[in-house]
C-alpha cells in the first residue's frame, strides 16, 4: 500500500484510539489516582493533537482525503450500515483544531476545577464529549453521525448540570436537552426520508442519487436539526442558559465544538442544498434573524458569560447566513477561526471569575488591566479578533463572508441585518472590555487575584497565538473551491470594517456620556426588550406549558369528571330518575293500606270467578 495513504489512515485511527484509551482505564474497578485527569486525559489529548497534525500536513502537501470503512456493523432490510470514517477537507482540518482547543481547555480546567472532588469524572465527561464530537465530524454515514450527534447532546446535558445541587443548573440542562430534541426530530425525519427514498445512509450514495429527487423535505429536516443544535432563532434560549455549567464546559461545548455541529451537518451535506432555493433562502433569513436578535440581546446583559454566549449565537447565525449564500467553505473557515478566539474569551472570563471570587457581573469588575495584565490583554485580543480586526483570525473569515454577502444577488434584508449585527458585535465587545479592564475597580478589595499559575496562562497564551495567526495560516494554505468575487466598489469592500468602526465609535461616545447625565432615565422599552432576551423565554417557557397543563386539567376535570361521570353517566341517570319518581309520587299520598286492600279484593274476586 502506498505509504501516504497508509500513514494517513493509520494516524487518523490512532487519534481516535488515543482518545478512547483513558476512557477504558476508567472501567477497571480499582480507584484511580488523584492525578488521573492530568496524567491520562490531558496527555492523551495532547498526543492526539500532535498525531493529528500528521494527516493535516499530508493533506496540505498532497491534498489526499480518505474514507476508511472498518466494519460491517448491521443491516436493515434494504441496506447495510458500516463503521465508516470520512476524512476529507473538513474533518482533517477540524480535528487538529478541536484537539488543540480541547488540550488548552483541559489544562485550564485542571486549575479551574482543582478544588472539585469529582474532577476525574469531569475530565471523563469532557473526553467522552470529545470522542462523540470527533465521531460526528468524521462520520461517513448518517447513522454514525447520529450517534455522535446524540452523544454530544447527552454530554452537554451532563456537563451543564454539573453542579446539580443548583436548581438553575438543572433547569438549564433540561432546557438544553429539550431544545436539542426538537432539532433531533428534524434530523430523524431527514434520515427516515433518505432511508426510504434513496435507500442508503452513506453520504457518497446520497450525493449521487439526490440529483433525481426533490430534496426539500429532508433539507427542511436538516435545517431544523441545525436550528436546534446551533441555537438559531426559535430554538435559541438554551445557549445562554447553558452558561450555568462550569466555564471549561462553556468554552469547549458552547463555543467551539458542540454548537457548530449543526452548522457542520449542513456543510457536510451542502451538495444536497446547492440547487434548492427554498432551503438556501431559509438558511439565509434564519441566520440573519438569529445574528441580529442575539447581538441585540447581548447589548444589555450584565453577566460576562452570557455576553460571550450571545456573541457565540450571533456568530453561529453568521455561519448559517454563509451557508445560505452557497459558501460552505467560508462557513467552515469561520468555524475554525471562531473556535480559537471564542474559547479564549471563555477561558479569560473563567480566569477573571475565579480571581474575583466567583463574581460574574461586569458591573462589579473593573480596572483589571493593571491587576491581571495577561488575561485582560488576551481578552482584548479575543474581542478584536471577534469583531474582525484586519489580519487577526476573525478578519479572514468574517470579512470574506460579508464581502460574499455584499456581492451576491440575494436578499438585501439579510444583508442589512447582518451588517447591523456586525456593528453590534463591536459595541458589546467594547462594552465587555471597558467594564472589565478599564476604569477603577468596583470589586471587593480582598479578591484573590492571581494569574501566575502556568496552568492558566499557558492555555490562554496558546489560544491567543491561535487567534492571531490561525486565520492567516488556514487561508494561505488551502485553496477555496469557489472563486470569490474580487472586484467590488470600495464602499462594499470596506463595509464590514466601516460598520465595525461606526459601532465602536458609537460605543465610545456613549461611554464618554455616562458621567454627563445625557438622559435622566434610560429609554425603558428597548432596554427591557434586550435585557429580557426579547421576552422569548418569558413567553414560551411560561405560556406553552401553562396552556398545555390547563388543557390537561380541563379535560380531566370538566370533560371526564363533570360531564361524563356526572351529567351523562351514572350520576346523571340517577338524578333524572329521582326527579321523575318525585313527580309521580306526589300524586300518591301514602294510603298504603287502602290501596293494598282494594288490590286484595280485586284479586280474590278474580280468582273466585275462575274457580267457579
Amino acid at each position: 500500500m502506498h505509504p501516504t495513504t497508509l500513514i494517513l489512515s493509520s494516524s487518523l485511527i490512532l487519534v481516535i484510539a488515543i482518545l478512547i484509551y483513558p476512557l477504558l482505564t476508567t472501567l477497571n474497578p480499582n480507584p484511580q489516582d488523584q492525578k488521573w485527569a492530568i496524567t491520562h486525559v490531558k496527555t492523551s489529548v495532547k498526543i492526539a493533537f500532535l498525531v493529528s497534525l500528521l494527516p493535516l500536513m499530508i493533506f496540505l502537501d498532497q491534498g489526499t482525503e480518505t474514507i476508511i470503512t472498518n466494519w460491517h456493523w448491521m443491516n436493515t432490510a434494504p441496506f447495510d450500515i458500516n463503521i465508516s470514517f470520512k476524512f476529507d477537507h473538513y474533518s482533517i482540518i477540524f480535528t487538529p483544531i478541536a484537539l488543540y482547543v480541547t488540550w488548552s481547555i483541559l489544562e485550564f480546567a485542571s486549575w479551574y476545577m482543582h478544588s472539585d472532588p469529582l474532577m476525574n469524572r469531569f475530565f471523563k465527561y469532557l473526553l467522552l464529549f470529545l470522542v462523540a464530537m470527533i465521531l460526528l465530524v468524521s462520520a461517513n454515514n448518517m447513522f454514525q453521525l447520529f450517534i455522535g450527534w446524540e452523544g454530544v447532546g447527552i454530554m452537554s446535558f451532563l456537563l451543564i448540570g454539573w453542579w446539580y445541587g443548583r436548581a438553575d443548573a438543572n433547569t438549564a440542562a433540561l432546557q438544553a436537552v429539550l431544545y436539542n430534541r426538537v432539532g433531533d426530530i428534524g434530523l430523524i425525519m431527514a434520515m427516515a426520508w433518505l432511508a426510504m427514498n434513496l435507500n442508503s445512509w452513506e453520504i457518497q450514495q446520497i450525493f449521487f442519487l439526490s440529483k433525481n429527487f426533490d430534496m426539500t423535505l429532508p433539507l427542511i429536516g436538516l435545517i431544523l436539526a441545525a436550528t436546534g443544535k446551533s441555537a438559531q432563532f426559535g430554538l435559541h434560549p438554551w445557549l445562554p442558559s447553558a452558561m450555568e455549567g462550569p466555564t471549561p464546559v462553556s468554552a469547549l461545548l458552547h463555543s467551539s465544538t458542540m454548537v457548530v455541529a449543526g452548522i457542520f451537518l449542513l456543510i457536510r451535506l451542502h451538495p444536497l442544498m446547492e440547487n434548492n432555493n427554498i432551503a438556501l433562502t431559509t438558511c439565509l433569513c434564519l441566520g440573519a434573524l438569529t445574528t441580529l436578535f442575539t447581538a441585540a440581546c447581548a447589548l444589555t446583559q450584565n453577566d460576562i458569560k452570557k455576553i460571550v454566549a450571545f456573541s457565540t449565537s450571533s456568530q453561529l447565525g453568521l455561519m448559517m447566513v454563509t451557508i445560505g449564500l452557497n459558501q460552505p467553505q467560508l462557513a467552515f473557515l469561520h468555524i475554525c477561526t471562531h473556535a480559537f478566539f471564542k474559547a479564549m474569551l471563555f477561558l479569560c472570563s473563567g480566569s477573571i471569575i475565579h480571581s474575583l471570587n466567583d463574581e460574574q457581573d461586569i458591573r462589579k469588575m473593573g480596572g483589571l488591566q493593571n491587576l491581571m495584565p495577561m488575561t485582560s490583554t488576551c481578552l482584548t485580543i479575543g474581542s478584536l479578533a471577534l469583531t474582525g480586526t484586519p489580519f487577526l483570525a476573525g478578519f479572514f473569515s468574517k470579512d470574506a463572508i460579508i464581502e460574499a454577502l455584499n456581492t451576491s444577488h440575494l436578499n438585501a434584508w439579510a444583508l442589512i441585518l447582518t451588517l447591523i449585527a456586525t456593528s453590534f458585535t463591536a459595541v458589546y465587545s467594547f462594552r465587555v472590555v471597558y467594564f472589565v479592564t478599564m476604569g477603577t475597580p468596583r470589586f471587593l478589595p480582598l479578591s484573590p487575584i492571581n494569574e501566575n499559575n502556568p496552568s492558566v496562562i499557558n492555555p490562554i497564551k496558546r489560544l491567543a497565538w491561535g487567534s492571531i495567526i490561525a486565520g492567516l495560516i488556514i487561508t494561505s494554505s488551502f485553496l477555496p473551491s469557489k472563486t470569490p468575487i474580487m472586484s467590488m466598489p470600495l464602499t462594499l469592500k470596506l463595509a464590514a470594517l466601516l460598520v465595525t468602526i461606526i459601532g465602536l465609535l458609537t460605543a465610545l461616545e456613549l461611554t464618554a456620556m455616562t458621567n454627563k447625565q445625557f438622559k435622566i432615565t434610560p429609554t425603558i422599552p428597548p432596554h427591557h426588550f434586550s435585557n429580557m432576551l426579547g421576552y422569548f423565554p418569558a413567553i414560551i417557557h411560561r405560556l406553552t406549558p401553562k396552556l398545555n397543563l390547563s388543557l390537561g386539567q380541563s379535560i380531566a376535570t370538566q370533560l371526564i369528571d363533570q360531564t361524563w361521570f356526572e351529567a351523562t353517566g351514572p350520576k346523571g341517570v340517577s338524578s333524572l330518575q329521582v326527579k321523575m319518581a318525585k313527580t309521580v309520587s306526589d300524586a300518591q299520598q301514602g294510603m298504603i293500606k287502602t290501596y293494598l286492600t282494594i288490590f286484595l279484593l280485586t284479586t280474590t274476586i278474580a280468582i273466585l270467578l275462575t274457580m267457579i
Binding site: 293494598l596 286492600t597 288490590f599 286484595l600 284479586t603 280474590t604 280468582i607
Partner: protein, 98 residues
C-alpha cells in the same frame, strides 16, 4: 279447580292479606311479600310441567333472581327506616304528624 291450583292460589291470597293488613312491624309485610313470591315461583314451575313447555323452564329462575333484587331493595328501605326512626314499627312513621 285442581287441589294444586287451589293451594298456591290460597297461599298467594293469604300472603297478600298479610301484606295488606300488617299492623305493627314493617318486617312482617316484607316477609309476606316473600311468601307471595314463593307461591308465584311454584305457580310458574307448575305451569311449565302442566303444559309441558320445556322452553319455559328458565322462567322460575328468572323470577327468583328478580325477587332477590326486590327483597334486597325492601330490606334497604327497612334499614333506612330503622336508621331514621329508630324502629320499624309503623306507629313511629307518622308520629310527628298532627
Amino acid at each position: 279447580m285442581t287441589p294444586v291450583h287451589f293451594s298456591f292460589c290460597s297461599a298467594f291470597i293469604l300472603g297478600l292479606m298479610g301484606l295488606t293488613f300488617h299492623r305493627t312491624h314493617l318486617l312482617s309485610a316484607l316477609l309476606c311479600l316473600e311468601g307471595m313470591m314463593l307461591s308465584l315461583f311454584i305457580a310458574l314451575a307448575l305451569w311449565t310441567l302442566q303444559f309441558e313447555m320445556t322452553g319455559f323452564s328458565a322462567a322460575p329462575m328468572l323470577l327468583l333472581a328478580f325477587s332477590a333484587c326486590e327483597a334486597s331493595a325492601g330490606l334497604a328501605l327497612l334499614v333506612a327506616t330503622a336508621r331514621t326512626h329508630g324502629t320499624d314499627r309503623l306507629q313511629n312513621l307518622n308520629l310527628l304528624q298532627c
